[in-house]
């Protein structure tokens, strides 16, 4: 009986329904599919709007412009007011997971005294692969392969050098090199790298080069 009353509309049931709907609404407001990926500057200028109409047709273009307006003047201000709670729980509701993959094949190579011990994805040159492949390490490895000036590359290279010195105590030279190429990656070229040597073992700035490899 209690269950039937609850389901047909007791005040508890209505309160539960309201609260659940508000929670769902908040999640969709903070991470509105499509809109949360739209920049504030999207479709602002007349040129952008003309291009949108040309590209998406009159109806599609106007809808895109309307969506951008709603995003800028309604969703984003509300998000700023209500979104603070996300930081407390580090639960930002924005879900552009795995969009398009990389445009280039990139591999990181580690050489100790000239001998290759690691190459990303290599079957045998797999020194410390478990660590270098670890999901928390991978984004920094990707950055190291992609951007020689990125903030975390110094820490990544330092970690590689420290680990190499542990595993190869006699080593005098550790090289970390980033190889780039077009898919499928039959030919890669050296894009940038770091050479760290004894006795100081200090990590220098990356040397960017484009020699054939």
């Amino acid at each position: 009986m209690h269950q039937d009353a609850d389901r047909s509309g007791g005040w508890r049931a209505h309160a539960r329904a309201v609260v659940t709907m508000m929670a769902v609404g908040l999640v969709f407001l903070l991470g509105t599919p499509g809109l949360d990926y739209l920049k504030a500057s999207a479709y602002r200028s007349n040129t952008q709007r003309r291009e949108a109409i040309q590209e998406l047709g009159p109806v599609g273009g106007q809808l895109a412009i309307l969506a951008a307006e709603v995003n800028l003047h309604l969703r984003r201000p509300l998000t700023r007011k209500l979104g603070g709670i996300q930081r407390v729980f580090r639960a930002r509701q924005s879900w552009h997971l795995y969009r398009n993959g990389p445009g280039r094949v990139r591999r990181v190579e580690v050489r100790v005294d000239g001998e290759r011990v690691y190459l990303t994805g290599h079957a045998t040159a797999d020194w410390r692969e478990a660590e270098l492949r670890m999901r928390r390490m991978r984004p920094i490895m990707e950055t190291t392969a992609k951007d020689p000036k990125a903030k975390n590359t110094a820490g990544m290279v330092r970690w590689i050098v420290t680990a190499a010195r542990e595993d190869y105590p006699e080593a005098e030279r550790v090289e970390v090199r980033a190889w780039w190429g077009r898919f499928p990656g039959k030919t890669l070229h050296l894009h940038h790298g770091w050479t760290v040597t004894a006795p100081s073992w200090e990590v220098p700035a990356a040397v960017v080069q484009k020699a054939s490899g």
Binding site: A17, T20, L97, F183
Partner: protein, 322 residues
């Protein structure tokens, strides 16, 4: 106008087998526990969770990191230890809501300390555990209440499961729409499809890009399947949710087999009991009734997703399978 509202009220008030949400709690917390334990086993805890000046890798920290004021140089080790311990307790069902809240907050601070290592799946799991705080999931299949000989609820309301279903729609739909907003290559027929590039990217994929190139039509079809799945995630809030979930399980197992993404697939699948509830509920109920009575006299399986003996969302019956 009133009919949809009544339908919504009825939907969120339907009692659901509490063990389904307990499964989500256990799986979600276990993913974090195994991930953090792996960090420890690989000896990487200091590397990830100490600041650069103290020997850590990352020089990037989020300004929302506040507990460093309390713990100073020991912030990383303290947060790592508290997160691992509290998440283990959540999985075991000890400490109830206070421990679960502590686990979420500590794990959030750990993410603020090491933003590059805190990925989408971590945010998904924190949101999920946060939602579960508003259910009785912490009292079912839980060691704490069992040790104190406290009855666990047989059912919970469907409010939190409905929230989680809409949450998953948001996650998948956003992923699908943002893919199409950036490029049409996902649905084009082309030589190097996006899925091929993702799965054979040496940094994250397990496939060799040269060898995988021969299977281009497969990657094109896989790309279309991904988009159909993500845009079709709206089915999650319909009665077709379990069927969508079967395809989703296939998709995530495929991701786990072809990419080095750590706990991503397992973290996503941790939420799937909610989608499979219409199938899981009757099986769990049958399991309970089979254990209560001798096999020869067991009744045919129920078609309800609610245990036979539960009267309402407030019932407090101890499960035999404790």
């Amino acid at each position: 106008m009133m009919r949809p509202w009544k339908a919504w009220v009825a939907a969120v008030s339907v009692p659901m087998d509490a063990r389904i949400l307990a499964m989500v709690r256990i799986l979600a917390a276990s993913c974090v526990v195994f991930d953090l334990a792996r960090v420890g086993l690989l000896g990487l805890a200091d590397d990830f969770f100490l600041p650069y000046v103290l020997g850590g890798i990352s020089q990037i920290h989020d300004s929302a990191l506040v507990v460093d004021v309390l713990f100073g140089d020991a912030t990383g080790p303290v947060l790592y230890g508290v997160s691992l311990a509290a998440m283990s307790l959540v999985a075991l069902g000890i400490g109830g809501r206070p421990v679960q809240l502590l686990a979420i907050l500590a794990y959030a601070q750990l993410g603020h300390l090491n933003p590059p290592g805190d990925r989408g799946v971590d945010r998904i799991l924190r949101t999920t555990l946060l939602a579960l705080l508003f259910s009785n999931a912490h009292r079912v299949w839980a060691l704490g209440p069992w040790l104190r000989k406290k009855a666990s609820p047989a059912t919970v309301s469907s409010a939190v499961p409905w929230f989680l279903r809409f949450f998953l729609v948001d996650v998948y739909l956003s992923a699908g729409i943002s893919k199409l907003m950036t490029t049409t290559q996902w649905v084009d027929y082309q030589h190097h499809p996006v899925l091929y590039r993702i799965l054979s990217d040496p940094m994250a994929g397990r496939l060799d890009p040269v060898a995988a190139e021969a299977l281009t039509p497969l990657w094109n079809a896989g790309g279309w399947f991904t988009i159909v799945m993500e845009l079709g995630s709206i089915l999650i809030v319909t009665r077709f949710a379990p069927w969508w979930a079967v395809a989703g399980i296939g998709m995530h197992l495929g991701i786990a087999a072809t990419m080095h993404l750590g706990m991503f697939s397992w973290g996503m699948l941790a939420l799937y009991p909610v989608l499979l509830a219409p199938w899981l509920g009757p099986r769990l109920a049958k399991l309970s009734s089979d254990r209560r009575r001798p096999r020869a006299t067991a009744t045919p399986s129920s078609t309800s997703s609610v245990p036979q003996d539960s009267a309402a969302g407030t019932s407090a019956t101890r499960h035999d399978g404790r």
